[in-house]
Symmetry: C2
Subunit: 248 residues, 2 copies
Amino acid sequence: MQRYKCIIAYDGTNFSGYQIQPEGRTVQGELEKALGKLHKQQAVKVTGSGRTDAGVHAKGQVIHFDSPLNIPEDRWVKALNSMLPDDAGILSVEKASPDFHARFSAVGKEYRYKISLGRTKDPFNRNYVCPFPFALDWKAMEEAASHLIGTHDFTSFCSAKSEVEDKVRTIHSIKLFESGEDEITFQFIGNGFLYNMVRILTGTILEAGSGKINPNDLPKILNSKNRDMAGKTAPAKGLYLWKVFYDN
Amino acid sequence: MQRYKCIIAYDGTNFSGYQIQPEGRTVQGELEKALGKLHKQQAVKVTGSGRTDAGVHAKGQVIHFDSPLNIPEDRWVKALNSMLPDDAGILSVEKASPDFHARFSAVGKEYRYKISLGRTKDPFNRNYVCPFPFALDWKAMEEAASHLIGTHDFTSFCSAKSEVEDKVRTIHSIKLFESGEDEITFQFIGNGFLYNMVRILTGTILEAGSGKINPNDLPKILNSKNRDMAGKTAPAKGLYLWKVFYDN
């Protein structure tokens, strides 16, 4: 058996999230279906770096799988892409050592969140950015972000549904930049993110930018360990799992 | 009654084209439904500058309609957008004189065709560009385009299904330019375009670029008045009705 590491992009709009489930079309489900076809219907299990929710996109999700097939790496890309639906695309497949694990070997992740400031209804970005047609104080947003960088207990920035015990995570950087006409992007890099964490961070920074939250209250919000203290959860459609980092 | 001129953008992916028809979701149908709601279910007829096919997008389609309602122009935009589905967006509404006609007053149109040269499967542009992951000779494409500019009988560049008698049209300009990473755009401006004409022009220029058609044969192809002599019809998804021109 050979272990393969594979980078996949997907448009999350029409998926019920990454993780396989009894009902609904999922990224993992489509991947396992495609691999099944390439393995004469023998089940091939796919392990991802983590889940993404319904509507959340990926530019660089990483998965691994094991296969007895000896296929060159570029032929894997073509074969899988021809079996996958149009809204998922394999970017690369490479041989990995048997101890590589898409989830447990990951040392960090980059997420991006796209926000449209435009006041005009744009049918082309309806599934790909979060509309926020209000005035934003850039300095207040950067100040709010600066308090979130570092190692903190992010309980206040995690969905109450989360069953994870340890909510301490390290955010290495948060950058805000213009990414197009009337479009801004928030870039988050960290060692790991809790359930809904990037969407709550985004919602909170936007509330700081629109004056609903005082940026200087961020340390207090972190210390409260109370989800209700932070801002609203920003919608799924603006969120992209951009990159997963591994050592080597 | 007041006549209104209205500019609308739509993502053509999930529409069975612009024009209303017994079956299928159409742009005109959704517009008339939205206007019906604003007029207590009284039918309001919408007239467009022309049809677009299923899958073809619009950045600036123009329509007109008549209404007894006296609503400020910006309130029309908000009211219509709140009634329309997410994949269609009103960009502007303005009062027009009673003799303005979206189709007959138009003096020209701009279409753009987007082509992706990338060799990587990109799930995010699957409905918005035509993939063409092959080498292209830019000079050959510009030479082919130069023969198409001007006033010609475009029978060779018109679907055989067309019932229009007069196939003489004037193309004012064709420009080819890079529009993103691995993306090029063909821009066509003319006094009018026949059924499938922009898609056949695009297919032909691409065949000149990939060496299947000699650019110097373009005059011969025009003179043949034979659809079979020109290139293939490029797919709908790369085509955008960009702008409609009116005098004044």
